[in-house]
């Protein structure tokens, strides 16, 4: 096997929209570079804690979770790239990408899962969306059952998007037993 795979048209997702770029996987880890320069993300293979693979509309998304809890999402892989990526992560990091499914049912009720600094909202064990807690500026408890998450806002908010998420709230009924008696969660 040659040292390295190159993938074009891979976008880095996250708050603030998406950025197109190019991704390189090599023996030392993974490297993503923004198209036209600027931002680059380099992850050493030793820092990779987990890898996920998810089918998203018309393409595929690779999730890379690193040591400090950060989670990068790279979108734009073809179905046939899964085999290459699986081999790469197995050989380089000893990690097998874990497959996730995306919920498109449009329901607003489900489960919340906290992993690293990601909060995942899933419907019927499929992921509906995730937000990074690093983007949360404040959480508030409203009444007994509602939790509000406010997101950081500054001049760069919305650089690549027209509409930017400012706030979400979750309603946790009394019948939920997952977060009983823990005022700091979710």
């Amino acid at each position: 096997m040659t040292d390295g795979h190159l993938f074009n048209n891979i976008t880095l997702g996250g708050r603030g929209g998406t950025n197109p770029g190019q991704m390189k996987m090599y023996s030392g880890g993974v490297l993503w570079k923004r198209q036209g320069g600027g931002k680059a993300i380099e992850v050493d293979k030793a820092d990779i804690m987990g890898v996920t693979w998810m089918k998203v509309p018309r393409t595929n998304q690779l999730g890379v979770r690193i040591k400090d809890g950060l989670y990068y999402k790279f979108t734009g892989f073809r179905d046939q790239d899964l085999a290459t990526l699986t081999t790469f992560f197995q050989n380089t990091c000893g990690i097998t990408p874990e497959e996730k499914q995306l919920s498109v049912s449009g329901r607003n009720w489900g489960e919340i899962d906290l992993n690293g600094n990601m909060l995942t909202f899933s419907v019927g064990s499929k992921q509906a969306f995730e937000v990074s807690l690093a983007d949360v500026s404040q959480t508030q408890l409203q009444g007994k059952n509602d939790v509000i998450l406010e997101f950081h806002v500054d001049d760069t908010t919305g650089a690549n998007e027209k509409d930017s998420l400012m706030e979400i709230s979750f309603h946790i009924p009394n019948s939920n037993t997952q977060f009983v008696g823990d005022e700091n969660h979710p």
Binding site: G13, G14, R15, G16, G17, T18, K55, V56, P57, R58, K73, L102, V104, S105, G106, R107, N108, W109, G110, E111, I112, F121, A128, F129, E130, V131, S132, D135, N145, D146, I148, V153, T157, G158, N160, E161, K162, D163, S164, L165, M166, E167, I168, S169, F170, H171, I172, P173, S175, N176, T177, Q178, P186
Partner: protein, 136 residues
């Protein structure tokens, strides 16, 4: 759409069956998919669909700095006349997304979104309640 003609109750309503039924990813902005009765919200770099029937209210507001805000409130159990009260038994223990607020750069787009959601929601709710009435 035809694929939902079998839906009988709000618990069975869904926006999409398959991932590739979603509209092609475009600009990161709130979109309405009339055909599938869905509202797509840009959350963390992804377009996240919600069926319009699960939306309770939508409102917009503009501040002095010409920023425009939109607030979408979803149905949750325990509110009066909430159609979810029948579901909440079925999905006990679930956590609900209650509200999502966005800031927009485009007030005209936001007023269109508010109008479209209101109209679409009215149509769907009317159809569903008619269907429920016929069933009894």
């Amino acid at each position: 759409g035809d694929n939902r003609s079998a839906a009988r109750t709000s618990t069975e309503l869904f926006a999409y069956k398959n991932i590739n039924d979603l509209p092609p990813p475009r600009e990161m902005m709130i979109q309405i998919d009339q055909k599938n009765e869905a509202v797509l919200l840009p959350i963390n770099g992804s377009m996240v669909p919600f069926h319009v029937a699960f939306i309770r209210t939508v409102s917009s507001q503009q501040d002095t700095n010409r920023n425009c805000y939109i607030r979408i409130i979803f149905n949750v159990p325990g509110t009066p006349f909430s159609p979810h009260d029948s579901n909440s038994m079925k999905f006990q223990g679930s956590i609900y997304l209650k509200e999502a607020s966005f800031r927009s750069k485009d007030p005209r787009h936001i007023s269109e979104v508010v109008q479209s959601i209101k109209t679409l929601r009215r149509q769907v709710v009317a159809r569903e309640s008619e269907r429920a009435e016929r069933a009894t």
